[in-house]
Symmetry: C2
Subunit: 239 residues, 2 copies
DNA sequence: TGTACATCAGTGAACGCGCGTTCACTGATGTAC
DNA sequence: TGTACATCAGTGAACGCGCGTTCACTGATGTAC
């Protein structure tokens, strides 16, 4: 809203901080470009004068940083909401929820991920978000469906999903399949099964032909013994 | 160089175009930030006055676009250089070469990938680059080590590698493993095997425990029959 | 061979703009006496 | 209960900067006669 904001009561000055952050996020979402995030635009959107922003943020950088922290927080909440139940299924749910969030908030996601990190070290909100990812993977490692170091595995899975959504956002002109949800499922499955298979690889491998044969047998064994629909593995459509 | 450029001879005015593009790339590489790419800085770097840039580029957007086209071209060359031989091995080589290029030219890579695409459609240099990716995957499909639509498979593999390098570039503070080459190998393998396994998945799947058992058997079979060192599959260290 | 002219490859100076930021100021409101 | 004062929550106007871009101009060089 561009209408002038009514002045906060005494002791309630902090309220403006939240409203400024909200205005910044709305601006990003509606403008479709992070270049629209100027102090003037944010202040106008919040219904206050430009210098008012400095009452709550040291400079523009601090404002952008605060916006990012909110997005990390939302991502973290997304993960904790999707944990529980079968770990492999939960992992798939988390991946899909993450991807959906990114595609629904492409500009925020871009700002979050593409900004050169300001200082050394991971900010707390980001660290907590990552901790959720690692926990989701750890649960899978405990049930033996995946093996390896949970932190490294989490980074690998994160890379796969992030890669897909960031390319979808930045390079929409490539021949992506129509069905984005199916694509995300595809990626989550590839990452999940790739991780699961990778942990089983021996130090020596047969030539490609034998490899293909072993993969065929693996598929045949699953086909003959399975009962559950495909949608229940870590890329399944069911939630 | 900040030294003044000697004026080109008659008919050789186009030379400046190349020198401007070179100056722009050098600026990106050395400054470490795409914000350093201003017309003034580029012109000074090329040893000419600022308006001279307009002799070869309609505006700043056209210059940035041209820089991107050069990067796409380099990526494309990278792919065509690494094709040939066993398709699964070539795919791994391409993935690692791509990742290495991105990590060695992080700012150019960021500009290339993160910029909101200007118009509809894929620019020719990017399309050719992608065609190389699809060809590399197609060769694998022909030898049956991977199954599926080459374009979709290529997008999936691209997503995995891009995700890893873009996170490495933008979020270096996360607990990445020390050895970046090993990480890239890891990702390329996960993506490659995930894609190979995924194409074998039946429509119905067993519960996680049976899945883990089938994966164990798959691993055991490979371990008993293989001869080649691990480094020869599509994530192998050998090139 | 000389010379006027067209063209090419640029240059210097300036314009206008929007940005982040600063500074002195205002007006409402709670509080001490 | 009245009132002076401190504090809080902002505002209006301006500053300086660097940016993309434009415009009139320059000087070397090839070419026609």
């Amino acid at each position: 809203m561009t209408t002038r904001r009514v002045r906060a009561k005494r002791g309630e000055g902090v309220l403006l901080r939240e409203e400024i952050l909200r205005a910044a996020e709305d601006l990003l979402a509606e403008s479709g470009s992070e270049e629209a995030l100027t102090l003037r635009a944010v202040a106008m959107r919040a219904g206050v004068s430009t210098p008012s922003v400095y009452l709550h943020f040291a400079d523009k950088e601090a404002l952008v940083e605060a916006v990012c922290m909110r997005v990390w927080g939302e991502l973290g909440r997304l993960f904790s909401d999707n944990l529980g139940g079968d770990p492999f299924l939960a992992l798939g749910r988390c991946g899909r929820a993450y991807a959906r969030f990114a595609l629904e908030h492409p500009v925020q996601y871009r700002v979050l991920m593409m900004r050169a990190s300001p200082g050394p070290g991971v900010p707390p909100a980001a660290a907590e978000c990552f901790r959720h990812m690692v926990n989701a993977v750890s649960a899978c490692v405990e049930t033996r469906v995946i093996e390896g170091d949970p932190e490294e595995l989490a980074l690998g899975l994160w890379s796969a999903v992030h890669g897909c959504v960031s390319l979808l956002i930045a390079q929409p002109s490539f021949p992506w399949p129509r069905d984005r949800d199916a694509l995300i499922d595809h990626i989550v499955r590839i990452a999940g099964f790739g991780t699961a298979v990778y942990s089983r690889l021996p130090k020596t491998l047969p030539p490609s032909a034998d490899l293909a044969a072993a993969l065929d047998d693996f598929g045949a064994r699953l086909a003959s013994g399975g009962e559950q629909p495909r949608g229940t593995e870590p890329g399944g459509a069911g939630e």
